[in-house]
């Protein structure tokens, strides 16, 4: 839909984000990690929309944040328009932020309820010195609002006075206010009702055409992602398992997980539904703190083989032009040499502690937590 140039805007290499799990007697020591993102390479070209899908908790948001250095990556580097962000800090990083923006999942919580729309929008401009006089700023604000389809009377209002869809528009306008090149949209529509969702999707598309933006769209709804993306990456448990352009991924999913995911998305058409072949996975997503060895998916994979799957982690390899997959047996599955079989569900053990104990030292946690009179 948009003209995709071949120059790369963002390049992610060997990205890892591990959150330490801390525990200890007096001082916290790290007893393990949540492998939220565990070795992801991807590159996004100028002007394209890259879609990232995967089940909840597989590390999509973390990856998105790490790309913008909103979360400090454990390893790997991000090159943005030729500049390596990895070692950037402080003021240079802050200035750099102008060029890469984020739209958040929950439109309400990502807007400060105590700031008027105007101050929300001006804030970023001021931070980057784009606020050049009252008049030009005013003009710019009205432009922004009309770009996202909000009346200019909105400036005086506060976030709670808007509906969900409108709030998401404000979030988008805020991202646009600093004239970025890249927008990472983290589940921009999943909190919205279907009809509103459609409005926002259309808007995103329009803005891209108008401003030549590059998007990384994160979602768990495959249909949405496929609809707006040029290329789609599928994540499973911290790693990319497949990457292809969005038609390919639908017509010819290569990774067993992609296949399962694809088949699980219900289609609002009884005719299709009646004949659709579903690949039902057994069991649940394993814990990212304790990921399975070898191929992360092998515990639920209907095509799992005796060898390699549980010992060797498959690398992402290009099977067809632009179509990468991380599966040892991708060709065999594609060509029907391996058949799906039944998988017994396994217990997923959540043996790690999410409740990061913040009262780590000295002190009655409860005394201080609940403060009754």
């Amino acid at each position: 839909m948009t003209q995709v140039t071949t120059s790369t805007l963002v390049e992610v290499e060997g990205m890892k984000v591990h959150f330490p799990i801390k525990r200890g007697v007096v001082l916290d020591k790290t007893v393990g990690y949540v492998y939220a993102v565990d070795g992801v390479d991807l590159s996004i070209r100028q002007g394209e929309t890259y879609g990232l899908v995967g089940e909840s908790g597989c590390g999509k948001s973390t990856l998105g944040r790490a790309m913008l250095k909103l979360t400090e990556p454990t390893a790997g580097k991000v090159v943005f328009d030729g500049v390596d962000l990895s070692s950037m800090k402080g003021e240079p990083l802050r200035t750099m932020r102008r060029r890469m923006q984020m739209v958040f999942q929950d439109p309400m919580s990502s807007l400060d309820p105590r700031q008027s729309v105007e101050s929300l929008l001006v804030e970023g401009m001021r931070a980057h010195g784009l606020d050049k006089g009252k008049e030009s700023t005013g003009r710019r604000l009205r432009e922004l609002l009309s770009a996202v389809g909000l009346p200019s009377t909105s400036l005086r209002k506060y976030p709670h006075e808007f509906s969900g869809g409108q709030r998401q528009r404000i979030g988008i306008a805020r991202a646009l206010s600093v004239e970025p090149d890249l927008i990472v949209a983290d589940e921009p529509v999943s909190a919205l009702d279907v009809s509103v969702q459609a409005q926002v999707i259309n808007l995103l598309e329009d803005l891209q055409t108008e401003f030549g933006l590059t998007y990384l769209v994160i979602a768990h709804d495959l249909a949405v992602v496929r609809h707006i993306s040029d290329r789609v990456g599928v994540m499973y448990l911290g790693g990319l398992v497949e990457e292809a352009n969005s038609d390919q991924i639908y017509t010819e999913p290569l990774h067993p997980y992609t296949k399962a995911l694809m088949s699980a998305v219900p289609v609002p058409d009884p005719v299709v539904e009646d004949v659709r072949e579903r690949i039902l996975l057994a069991g649940d997503l394993p814990s990212p703190a304790n990921p399975p060895t070898g191929c992360r998916f092998h515990t639920r994979c209907p095509w799992r083989q005796e060898s390699r799957c549980d010992t060797e982690r498959p690398a992402l390899r290009e099977l067809a032009p632009g179509h990468k997959v991380a599966c040892h047996w991708a060709e065999d599955i594609r060509d029907g040499r391996i058949r799906a079989h039944e998988v017994k569900p396994q217990l997923t053990q959540d043996d790690w502690d999410t409740g990061a104990d913040d009262n780590s030292l000295a002190g009655p946690a409860s005394v201080t937590e609940t403060l009754g009179p």
Partner: protein
């Protein structure tokens, strides 16, 4: 769980350590002090100076603290100068602890025994006269200064009506054997029923006064938490199972509603200690609170230091216990093995 307990106990030590240093330095900086307490108005400036020197109060605070710690480690926390002059501070603490515990336990029992059922009723009849009445009266309970309430109770029930004794833990004439220091318990253990009864009667008024604040808090938390729980989805699930009302109430509502109440009760131990200072003073009840009040008045450093430290320790310890018991009721914490 064990790990967590050990960790919290270590934290407790740290708290006590830091607190002891702060308290020590601070108590030493108070004017007056043991010299005045020991000598009274009869001494001359010279005698005062001599005693100050003798007691080592002219040394740098740090030196004094080191000495104190050295002695404390061997179990010597100094000797009282004002509360019970001549008695080791530790003895005073150990002797008075049962008194305050006895009183606090009864107060907490009263607070719970009235607060929880009333809170539950008020929540179930939200907006009713009973509800509004008990809410307002619980707020009044918080707004009345404890010492004044204690005073009124005593005036009405002890002096005017004569139903209860006015002061102390036990009549002087009763020949009671001391075993544990808990007078009621002692009486029961030795089968000196009159002594037990007498001690119990002495507890009632102060305990009621002391219970006023914990009662209000327990009541309000229970009410709020029952209201919350009743609206929870799982209660709806329980309803959808067709369970009978008593089962829902007992198994589903109360059990969940008790979680915050348990925490609150732990927190209230702090309020109890503070309240004990006032209540025990008014009722001449020889417990920790009274010792604190007298200790402040007479600048009894060793006793104050030990009592405040121990109160803080007990407070922290009780909260640890509460947290542990919380974990027993709430499986979410139990299995996670951590804080909240």
């Amino acid at each position: 769980m064990l790990r967590y307990t050990i960790r919290r106990l270590l934290q407790l030590l740290i708290v006590v350590g830091v607190l002891s240093l702060l308290l020590f330095a601070w108590l030493r900086s108070l004017p007056g002090g043991p010299v005045s307490a020991l000598l009274g108005e009869r001494a001359t400036a010279e005698t005062r100076a001599r005693l100050t020197e003798e007691l080592g109060l002219n040394d740098p605070i740090f030196v004094q603290y080191i000495k104190f710690v050295g002695r404390a480690l061997s179990g010597d926390f100094g000797v009282s100068t004002g509360v019970q002059p001549g008695d080791p501070a530790l003895d005073i603490f150990l002797q008075r602890l049962p008194a305050t515990l006895e009183l606090s336990i009864l107060a907490i029992i009263i607070a719970i025994a009235i607060g929880i059922p009333l809170g539950y009723l008020a929540a179930r009849r939200r907006g009713s006269v009973l509800d509004n009445l008990s809410v307002v009266s619980s707020l009044i309970g918080v707004a009345v200064p404890v010492f004044f309430l204690a005073f009124l109770l005593k005036q009405v029930f002890a002096v005017d009506l004569g139903w209860f004794p006015t002061a102390g833990r036990q009549e002087g004439g009763i020949d009671a054997t001391r075993v544990t220091g808990f007078f009621v318990l002692d009486g029961i253990l030795t089968q000196e029923w009159d002594a037990a009864w007498d001690a119990f009667v002495h507890l009632i008024l102060p305990a009621v006064a002391l219970a006023s604040i914990p009662f209000s808090v327990v009541f309000r938390i229970t009410r709020a938490s029952v209201l919350d729980v009743v609206d929870e989805d799982y209660i709806r699930t329980a309803e959808s199972k067709g369970l009978t009302t008593p089962v829902i109430r007992r198994r589903h509502v109360l059990r969940n509603a008790m979680l915050p109440v348990v925490t609150t009760i732990g927190l209230q131990t702090g309020a109890l200690l503070a309240g004990a200072v006032l209540t025990e003073t008014v009722f001449a009840f020889p417990g920790i609170g009274q010792a604190l009040a007298i200790g402040f008045e007479r600048r009894d450093y060793p006793v104050l230091l030990l009592l405040i430290l121990c109160s803080a320790g007990v407070f922290v310890l009780i909260n640890l216990l509460v947290d542990l018991s919380y974990a027993l009721i709430d499986p979410r914490i139990r299995t996670r093995g951590g804080g909240h």
